[in-house]
Amino acid sequence: MDIKTINYEEEKKVYYKVLIGLLILTTITFIQPHIYTANTFASQMFIAVIKAWLILMYYMHLKGEKLIGAMVIFALFLVSFFFIIIIGIDVPNFQFGDESYIMSAPHTTK
């Protein structure tokens, strides 16, 4: 990516477009609970992912960065793997949950 030749107006437009996009998404995060109450958590996280993607691609100029993009994906893969194993496999299948003090302690609202 050549840094000398840049089209100021063009890039500026992109910035504003993305800004608007992000603002819209933010408003959606606020109205979502009123319109779609089935799974707040999932929908919130989904929106967050889209926002993150916009920021990465346009604000952080990840677009067209092959090498760096691959590195980012590798890191994200690792994190998601940690989640899958620990949150997805280990915790829900822990067979002694009922005997566990921290899970079913006297004053945890169940």
């Binding site: 090498l67 590798f74 194993i85 915790v91 822990f94 003090y101």
Partner: protein, 559 residues
């Protein structure tokens, strides 16, 4: 000879006159590497001494020389120094700094100033760790030996409750972690950006591959333990309750986060060591390495798989059975690339003109010791067996065979291999070999009995034991004596070589990689007189002679 440094004293800042200040502020990768070496081996011997005291204490059941609490602090000190100060930064910081840039024909690492900063960050971390050794009791301000007694793993909740200086130690570990991250970052960028023209990834020497894989582990795994330690510190300070069951926290989560880093950390230790092995074997077999790509890629895949196996440290800590199975299964996979490497090395030696110089016999010895360490590792990968052997001397022996008999031995192999490059002198081969045999006998005498003791149920980290185990401890002690003598003897031989050995010339081993094609040895500032164009594979030999030859002034090929 175009010097590209903007400042001929090549310091991080200023133009100091005194040589001492020039060393303190140097951004020259070779000097920084040497300073790392000096500091690390000092710490290494401190830790060795601690371990020896423990062996002395365990010579007989009951209390001999030190009491239980001191013993706990002793093994913690041994662990913290060996892991955080010596073996994790060890090979990358020393040889990665000294030879890696030369190997890829670079003039320095990508961020020399960052490199300098990293070194001093490391020193700060070391000092903080030392400061946590003692504390002054508030009653009468007298100094008491109050190092953390948690073991180097700082397991919660004990680490949150004990009165010893855990926080300081955690801070030290955190700072050292940052140093390690920055080193890895620096090397990754260096390897990506500063390879000599023409040197593709598959023309790099294998040590560079090792460093590259290591860099990724340092970069992506260390932050996890970093944040874990931060959380533990906050926990101790503000009682958040993240790891403290009394407040609803789950200690197993601590173990998860801790091992997410600390398991890859052992691959972080071994990968550059494997790199050294892959340098030494072809050079002293006078033969092109067998299966270059498989070795290179197996380094990468070990690094990759290494991230996915941390759970095998938690088999007895309360994990879901499915998780245990998954982790056990994944862990077996690590054996595959490792096995590939070993077969490649052996195949390289097959029909080669093997020269049994000191670096080579260190490497060969390692093939034996590390094989023992690795295979015993596979046995405790099996959940059922691990339930029996966890936290016994068996795992202690496994770990030391793998790390001392693998990483440290190869580090010493590297020391003997690159010694002429760094000092320009040659040590006394005969004495160096004697030193090796002392160490080799020592390590087996010291740790093999532990396999048996551990299998019979001798738990680790105990300062007293039942008389049944006496004999094993006594053999181990004998081994310890031999080993320590061997270590000291080895360093003495090298020291002698450095003081008054004969000049070695630039390429005493008939090696092929770029670090042996320097105009002078020790290498001049900014290494090669001119950056070569690399259009050849490393380790090219024809009937026992290196193929590629250079004119060291113009760095043009003359073969």
């Amino acid at each position: 000879m175009s010097k590209t440094y903007f400042d001929e004293t090549h310091c991080a800042f200023g133009h100091p006159k005194s040589t001492f200040m020039q060393w303190m502020l140097t951004i020259d990768h070779k000097r920084i590497g040497l300073m790392y070496a000096a500091v690390m081996f000092t710490f290494f011997f401190v830790a060795v001494a601690t371990a020896f005291v423990m062996r002395l204490e365990l010579l007989a059941p009951g209390q001999q020389f030190i009491d239980g609490d001191t013993f706990n602090q002793a093994f913690t000190l041994h662990g913290v120094i060996m892991i955080f100060l010596f073996i994790i930064p060890g090979i990358p910081a020393i040889f990665g700094n000294i030879v890696m840039p030369i190997m890829i024909g670079a003039k320095d690492v990508s961020f020399p100033r960052l490199n300098w900063f990293t070194f001093w960050l490391y020193i700060v971390g070391a000092l903080v760790a030392l400061s946590s050794l003692v504390s002054f009791n508030d009653v009468d301000g007298e100094m008491i030996f109050n190092f953390a007694d948690t073991g180097w793993t700082f397991y919660a909740p004990y680490s949150l409750n004990t009165g010893t200086n855990v926080i300081t130690t955690l801070v030290a570990a955190f700072i050292l972690g940052m140093a390690s991250i920055l080193t890895g970052l620096n090397f990754l960028v260096t390897i990506h950006r500063l390879r000599a023209p023409g040197m593709g990834f598959f023309k790099m020497p294998l040590f560079v591959w090792g460093i590259y894989a290591t860099g990724w582990i340092q970069l992506l795994a260390t932050p996890v333990v970093g944040i874990t330690l931060v959380l533990a510190i906050l926990e101790k300070q503000f009682g958040i309750g993240i790891f403290d069951p009394a407040k609803g926290g789950d200690p197993v989560l601590f173990q998860h986060l801790f091992w997410i880093y600390s398991h890859p950390a052992v691959y972080l230790m071994i990968l550059p060591a494997f790199g050294i092995m892959s340098e030494i074997i072809p050079v002293f077999s006078r033969k092109e390495i067998f299966g270059y790509r498989t070795i290179a890629l197996s380094s990468a895949s070990i690094a990759g798989i290494g991230y996915l196996v941390w759970g095998h440290h938690l088999f007895t800590s309360g994990m879901a059975d499915i998780a245990k199975t998954v982790f056990s299964f994944l862990t077996f996979f690590v054996a595959i690339p490792t096995g590939i490497k070993f077969y490649d090395w052996v195949a390289t030696m097959y029909q080669g003109k093997i020269v049994l110089s000191t670096p080579m016999i260190w490497a060969l010895g390692t093939i034996i010791t590390f094989a023992i360490g690795g295979l015993t590792g596979i046995t405790i990968t099996m959940v059922g067996l691990d339930i029996h052997l966890q936290d016994t001397y068996y795992s202690v022996a496994h770990f030391h065979y793998a790390i001392l008999g693998g990483v440290v031995f190869l580090m010493f192999a590297g020391m003997h291999y690159w010694f002429p490059l760094i000092t320009g002198k040659m040590y006394n081969e005969k004495k160096a070999k004697i030193a090796f045999y002392m160490n080799f006998v020592g390590i087996n005498l010291l740790w093999f009995p532990m396999f048996i003791a551990g299998y019979l149920g001798m738990p680790r980290r105990y300062f007293d034991y039942l008389p049944e185990f006496e004999i094993y401890h006594q053999i181990s002690f004998a081994g310890a004596v031999v080993m320590v003598s061997g270590l000291v003897y080895m360093f003495w031989v090298l020291f002698q070589g450095w003081r008054n050995g004969e000049p070695s010339g630039t390429n005493p081993w008939n090696a092929t990689t770029l670090e042996w094609h320097l105009p002078s040895s020790p290498p001049p500032l900014e290494n090669h007189s001119k950056v070569p164009y690399v259009d050849f594979e490393p380790y090219k030999y024809e009937n026992g002679e290196p193929v590629v030859k250079f004119d060291y002034e113009t760095m043009k090929r003359i073969d």
